[in-house]
Amino acid sequence: MMKEPIISVRDLVAKYGDKTVLDRVSVDIFPHEITVILGGSGCGKTTLIKNILKLYNPVSGSVKILGKEIIGMEDDEFDQTLKQIGMLFQNGALLNSMTIFENISIPLEQHTSLTPDIIERIIRVKLSLVNLESAADLTPSELSGGMKKRVALARAIALDPEILICDEPSAGLDPLTSASLDELILKLKELLKMTIIIVTHELASIHRIADRLIFLHDNKIIFTGTLAEAKSTDIPEVESFFRVGRFE
C-alpha cells in the first residue's frame, strides 16, 4: 500500500516579478525517506523549498504539510507546523550576535519547557554529533563555512523535528566532512524516523543517501523516482546529469 505523503504540493506557481520560477509544480514527499531535489542552477530548487515553507508566497497552488493546507493558514497555526520542521539554510543563517551554544538553544528555550540542565545536555550532544563540541562558546564569525553549516544542522535538529530540510548541505565542504554529514543524515532518518528533504547537486552525496529523487528543469518537475530509476531513465536532462557527473 502506498504511504500517505507528509508533504503534498499541487499545481504550485511561483514568480519573481513577471518571471515564472515554478510552473504548476506537483510533488509528494513521503515520510521516513530522504528525498533529494536536484536540477541545474537557477531551476527553482531553493524557490520550491521556500514556497513550501511560506518564506515566499506562491502565486497559486496548494501545499499540505502533515495533512494540513498551509496556504492561507493563520500564522499562529503555521508556527505549530514549523515547530515540527528543521531547516538548514545554504549559508547556515546563524545569528551572528549569539554564540553557537545560544544559537542552538533558541528553539529549545522558546518551544519547550525543558530545564537549563537538560537543554545544555541536548546542545552538547547535538554539537558532538556534528563534531563541534569545542565550539560552543565561539561566535559564528569565528567559524569556517563548513563549521557554520554543521552548527546550523545542529540547530535544525535541536528539537528532533519530524521533517528536516537541508538546502545544499554539502556545498563548500571537503569530501570527508560531507560524507560524515551524510552519515549523520542517514542516522537521523533511521533513529528519529525523520523525513529529510535535501537540495543538492553533489552526486556522491546523492548516491550515499537518496531514497527518492525529484528532478527540476525549466521550472517544472521532469522526473520523480528512485536513484536506480533515475540512472536508467531516458529523459535527456536526467540522463546527461548522471552521465556528465560520473567519475568512475
Binding site: L114, R121, E133
Partner: protein, 354 residues
C-alpha cells in the same frame, strides 16, 4: 512513571514534551536508592529523553542501570548520550587591571590606525584631484547628490526652525530693554559662527557618516574590499576619495544655506513680533558680521566634513563579524563623529574667540 522494588519503570514516550514533568517527579525521588531504570514499556525516545536519562542518573546515590530497553531505544541512547562529553567550558573573565591595560593598548592602536588612515585619505584625495582614473566616472557627482542635495530639505527646515526658536527666545528679553534691533546681531552671529556649521555637521554625521560607515563595513564583510584589492585597486582611492571630494564641495554650501535660512527664520520673528522692518534687520545683520566670522564658519565646516568621512571610513574598515558588526560600527561612527565635531568646535572657539 512507577517506582517498584528500587526499580524505576517508565512507559510510553520519553521526549521533549514528557520530560519536564518526569524530571519534576524524579527530583522528588532524589537520594533514594534506585538500582535500575526499566525501559521495557518505553516505545520512543528522542534527544531530550536521552538527556533526561543521563541527568537523573546523577540524582541517586548509586548510578542506576538501564534495563530492558528495546533495540531501537538502546541505539538512540547510544547516539544521543551526553555521558563522557566535555561540559561546555566557562570562559573566565579577565580581572580589572588586565582589561584596563588592554583597553589602553587598543585605544593607542586605534589612534595610530585612525591617523594613518586620515593621512592616507588626505594624501589620496589630493593626488586624486589630478588622477581621474582611480574611481568610477561620475562618482563624485553621485556622492554629492547623496551627501548634499538629498540633505537640503531637512537641513533647510531645521535651520528655519532653529532661527525662529533663537529669535523667539531672545525677543522677549530684548523687548524689555527696547533693544529689539539686536535680535539681528544675535541671530547673525550665532548662525554664522556656531549654529549653522555645527547643526549641519551633526545632521550630515547622522545621515552621511552612518551611510559611509555601513557601506564600507558591508563591503568589508562581504569581501568586496578584498575583491577590489585583488583587482589591483586601492579601496581608499576607489571608495573613500569620491566621498571625501563630494563632502568637501557640499559641506560649505550646506552650511551657507543653513546660515541664510536660519537668519530668515529670525527675520520672521523680528518682523511679526518685534515690529522691525526687513531692511533694518538685514542691514544690522550684515554690519555686525565680519569677514573673519564667515571664513572661520566655512573653514570649520570643512574640518567637520573631513572628520565625518575619516571617522566613517575608519569604523567601516575596522568592522568584525557579520551583520551585527555592521550595525555596531555604524552606531559607533555616528557617536564618534558627533563627539569630535563638538570637540573641534570647542577648540575652534578657544583658538579664535578666547
Amino acid at each position: 512513571m512507577i517506582l517498584k522494588d528500587k526499580n524505576l519503570i517508565f512507559s510510553g514516550a520519553l521526549n521533549k514534551f514528557t520530560v519536564p514533568d518526569l524530571l519534576r517527579k524524579c527530583k522528588l525521588l532524589a537520594e533514594k536508592e534506585i538500582k535500575s531504570i526499566d525501559l521495557k514499556d518505553v516505545e520512543t525516545v528522542d534527544g531530550a529523553g536521552v538527556a533526561f536519562l543521563d541527568e537523573i542518573s546523577g540524582y541517586f546515590p548509586e548510578k542506576p542501570r538501564i534495563i530492558n530497553a528495546n533495540t531501537e531505544v538502546k541505539r538512540t541512547i547510544k547516539i544521543f548520550s551526553s555521558v563522557g562529553l566535555q561540559p561546555v567550558p566557562v570562559i573566565e573573565k579577565d580581572n580589572f587591571t588586565v582589561r584596563l591595560g588592554e583597553s589602553v593598548l587598543s585605544w593607542k592602536d586605534s589612534v595610530v590606525v585612525s591617523f594613518t588612515l586620515a593621512a592616507d585619505i588626505i594624501y589620496w584625495s589630493i593626488t586624486g584631484i589630478f588622477e581621474r582614473k582611480s574611481h568610477r566616472k561620475g562618482e563624485v557627482i553621485h556622492q554629492s547628490i547623496l551627501i548634499g542635495v538629498d540633505a537640503l530639505g531637512i537641513i533647510s527646515l531645521l535651520s528655519l526652525i532653529l532661527g525662529l526658536i533663537l529669535a523667539l527666545q531672545s525677543a522677549a528679553q530684548l523687548r524689555q530693554f527696547g533693544a529689539n534691533i539686536f535680535v539681528a546681531d544675535l541671530i547673525a552671529i550665532s548662525m554664522v559662527r556656531e549654529m549653522g556649521p555645527m547643526m549641519t555637521a551633526i545632521i550630515v554625521a547622522g545621515r552621511s557618516g552612518s551611510s559611509i560607515a555601513s557601506e564600507i563595513a558591508t563591503m568589508k564583510v562581504t569581501e568586496e574590499i578584498d575583491a577590489l584589492r585583488m583587482m589591483a585597486l586601492n579601496p581608499i582611492k576607489y571608495i573613500v576619495v569620491p566621498k571625501f571630494h563630494a563632502i568637501t564641495i557640499c559641506m560649505p554650501l550646506l552650511v551657507t544655506m543653513s546660515t541664510l535660512i536660519g537668519i530668515v527664520g529670525g527675520l520672521i520673528i523680528a518682523v511679526t513680533y518685534l515690529d522691525l522692518s526687513a531692511v533694518s534687520y538685514f542691514n544690522q545683520a550684515i554690519n555686525v558680521l565680519t569677514v573673519k566670522d564667515v571664513i572661520i564658519g566655512l573653514m570649520k565646516s570643512l574640518f567637520f566634513a573631513w572628520v565625518i568621512v575619516i571617522i566613517g571610513s575608519y569604523y567601516g574598515l575596522k568592522v568584525k563579524g557579520g551583520s551585527e558588526g555592521v550595525g555596531k560600527v555604524t552606531t559607533l561612527s555616528v557617536v564618534a563623529s558627533i563627539f569630535w565635531v563638538i570637540v573641534l568646535d570647542a577648540l575652534n572657539s578657544l583658538i579664535f574667540y578666547f
